[in-house]
Symmetry: D2
Subunit: 265 residues, 4 copies
């Protein structure tokens, strides 16, 4: 069965900025979906910020294996309920690909536990992405490096946790560098951050970018869901694996009052 990818688009600048609209007549989400659809193993659809529940209803997420997230100007308009829902899905095994300015999305910052800050400059400069981890599945089929002639610069330090693996490092014409492809696991969910994708440039028409996106969806896919990771269950003494005799003082039920309902103790 194909991997069910869902592209989430903010879909704002396509409506307001002429250059963006010309770059992406079918929307950025539409163009990203088009890149993914070149892989017959991926079944792709799109939703946007403007959809009810931002398109991320429980039902929709039930049918999603890997979510791709492009947002920029309206991170604060994303409802906290939906943010929490997406994070919980990732913890249970849904893959997540965070694109470019999505580094400042509530979902990404929430999953990283850091501000995910960086330096930036919008000057249409050259970016060269070097493959520093050629054996990683996300780099499959790429050369030593690939270039994007027009990109926004993101500069280090990128305040994110040390990744599981660094896949790409970018060189920028203006003198900066950036760790442009980073992998994480949070709970049972695989996360990939991929730097390029400024809306005023034709990044999502680039063949190498398409390859990376398709590779990353295949890499992030996990067919299983781990609902058990959402709970902190008590393991009663009576059913302990090894024989165990209860000892020592205990908390009372009253002591437990106030604890997170359904969570622990």
């Amino acid at each position: 069965m194909a991997i069910r990818a869902l592209v989430w688009g903010e879909n704002l600048h396509e409506q307001k900025n002429k250059a963006v609209a010309e770059n992406y007549p079918i929307g950025m989400h539409g163009q990203i979906a088009k890149l993914l659809s070149e892989d017959k193993n991926i079944s792709v659809s799109t939703v946007t910020l403007q959809d009810p529940e931002h398109g991320l209803s429980e039902a929709r997420l039930n049918e999603t294996d890997v979510l791709l997230w492009w947002g920029h100007a309206a991170h604060d308009m994303v409802d906290d309920v939906i943010v929490k829902r997406v994070m919980e899905r990732v913890w249970q095994g849904m893959g997540l690909i965070v694109l470019h300015s999505g580094h400042h999305s509530k979902v990404f910052k929430g999953l990283m536990g850091t501000p995910a800050n960086l330096h930036w400059r919008e000057a249409g400069e050259r970016e060269r992405l070097w493959v520093v981890n050629p054996g990683h599945p996300i780099a499959k089929g790429l050369g030593e490096y690939f270039e994007l002639e027009y990109e926004e610069m993101y500069g280090e330090p990128f305040s994110v946790p040390e990744p599981l693996e660094t896949v790409f490092v970018s060189w920028f014409q203006g003198g900066e560098v950036f760790r442009s492809g980073l992998t994480y696991r949070r709970g049972a969910g695989n996360i990939f951050y991929f730097r390029p994708g400024h809306e005023t440039y034709p990044t999502y028409h680039d063949a190498n970018v398409g390859k990376v996106l398709r590779n990353s969806v295949n890499w992030a896919f996990n067919a299983d869901r781990h609902a058990e990771l959402m709970k902190a269950p008590n393991t009663p003494v009576a059913s302990s694996i090894e024989p165990l005799v209860e000892r020592g003082a205990k908390l009372t039920n009253a002591d437990h009052a106030g604890e997170v309902a359904g969570a622990k103790k």
Copy 2:
């Protein structure tokens, strides 16, 4: 100058449960502070949930190098403003030692980006902490392992990100294991999670536990603060490091409306 450690205590069960009160007549925070004070390089003080701003005012945090956090039953009573403040301090370089049931604190879950769930059992069983990383500064002066005859069991899977390093792994009498000492960096802040510390047992009277706590404060200490990590500044083309000529389409000021104030773009 001594490292300024601040012990944050929930200070609830000491007031309500006789066994806890007897174990910790000066409060758990008080006893933890006492362990730290054995190190002349550490200057220690305590605050509790009940203090104004939970004792974590801006002024107080200005004077704190490493914060230790023990909480259990009242995680939800900790004000979100304070949670955010503590997280921001960690990102800028304050050390954080999270103790036992603090795994479910808002601060820890927020910094991990995961639910930090686990299995648990309160049966006064034997815990044996093995040093799996003998060269780590936090394990300095310990033997191959140390035992706590009475402890609460925490069992895997512990849903936290893969750590920078695993320092301890626990064996439990009832048949479980747990990664009991884990290090992280978030922004410029060092974080150590240390598993033992159930309130109905005398854990914070144990000599090895004291050693680990003192080691961890020394390890987590970072004299510098990195306020620059809290911003995502624009680097103007005019002041680019390498010569750069601006090209391509741009977003307008109107496009930037709605972005996070003071944060990015």
Copy 3:
């Protein structure tokens, strides 16, 4: 096309020890191969220490995607030429699954850069392997834990580098713990160390062990080979990506005499 797995067996104790021979009438390598053959996506064959070139000729390795290594008493009998050859294959993308006492093989120690020491006890005790990373592909289809009623104990500290991810942690009846499933990447090659497998016990007849082995072969598989990682080429100034004018003093050809032939400078 199926993944081509090759099981390497030391094949000594099967010949000398009655219990081992009874456990593994088709050899340990034969039994491991049998477990792998349950996966239709895996095409498996076996070689042993006694074969010419220990069965690991260039031709044979050309047809190998993932190598599984079981050795114990004769690590020193493995020719250094073959050790180097296997390591070079891993660096270029061949997967490697190191089993049990293979932790002391020259190949594993060479790839880890550490002595890979541990404590051990042969007492037929109970081992319980906890899944600490339930979303990892190698843990797919397993429960929270699985048990091996008879196993040799390996105890921490296991002197190996911090892994990419820890998949299993073992509890032992006698009181020890061990990180029993560890992943690494060296060059383009995926490596998995899996602890159980003592020859006097029926470990390789266990259904869960079979599942882990099949999962690990699927996880370690990389169809590509990266011969370019075996070289340190000069990038001439004349063909630099960005325009570059040579400056400063240089080494002479004579200075380079003595350098590693074909390697660097």
Copy 4:
């Protein structure tokens, strides 16, 4: 007591190449030692390839806390006995700072378990080292980045294991990037690889380079030595921590013949 740093220099090109000799009239090792001596907490001395045992006798290493290694053209002239000795010292807790072309030293490749290859170009081009991990002790006191106007280029992929943490990433004028500051732990020993340092340029006269070297020595220092990590001892059933009754079949003493003497079983 001061940290005892020992600088190991190949000391060849200083003797043969006029530019190198002019850059480093007291030898590269001498100049590196001079940079370290600015820290009153560091007591520094030097040895070279030409010394008996390359200056790395057991007695000398007994008095060494952190070893710095600069070599380039004569890696193959370093005796394997000394290489093994140095690696064993690192495993037991001696710190190691590997400089520039030392990436191809036997010691570094042996500790990494990888070929440590890369691309290179000697063109006196500009290198800009960005601090990607500003809270790391090795980056203490540095700005956002520092520049070396004349350096040799090293380009990715650098075939080394994923580090514990990446501290620096370099931008090169000719278009390449490189992970220029990487930390590892092998056994109980801390390892830092620091990229700059080509002998025909005045790199070791740079104030920021000096700061990094001093920081790295302080970071790598571990006062303790862990000889126990060099052994794989048997833990007899009779002295098991938890009560244990021996069961199952066993290997015989004859089965153990051929095993690594003094190592395991």
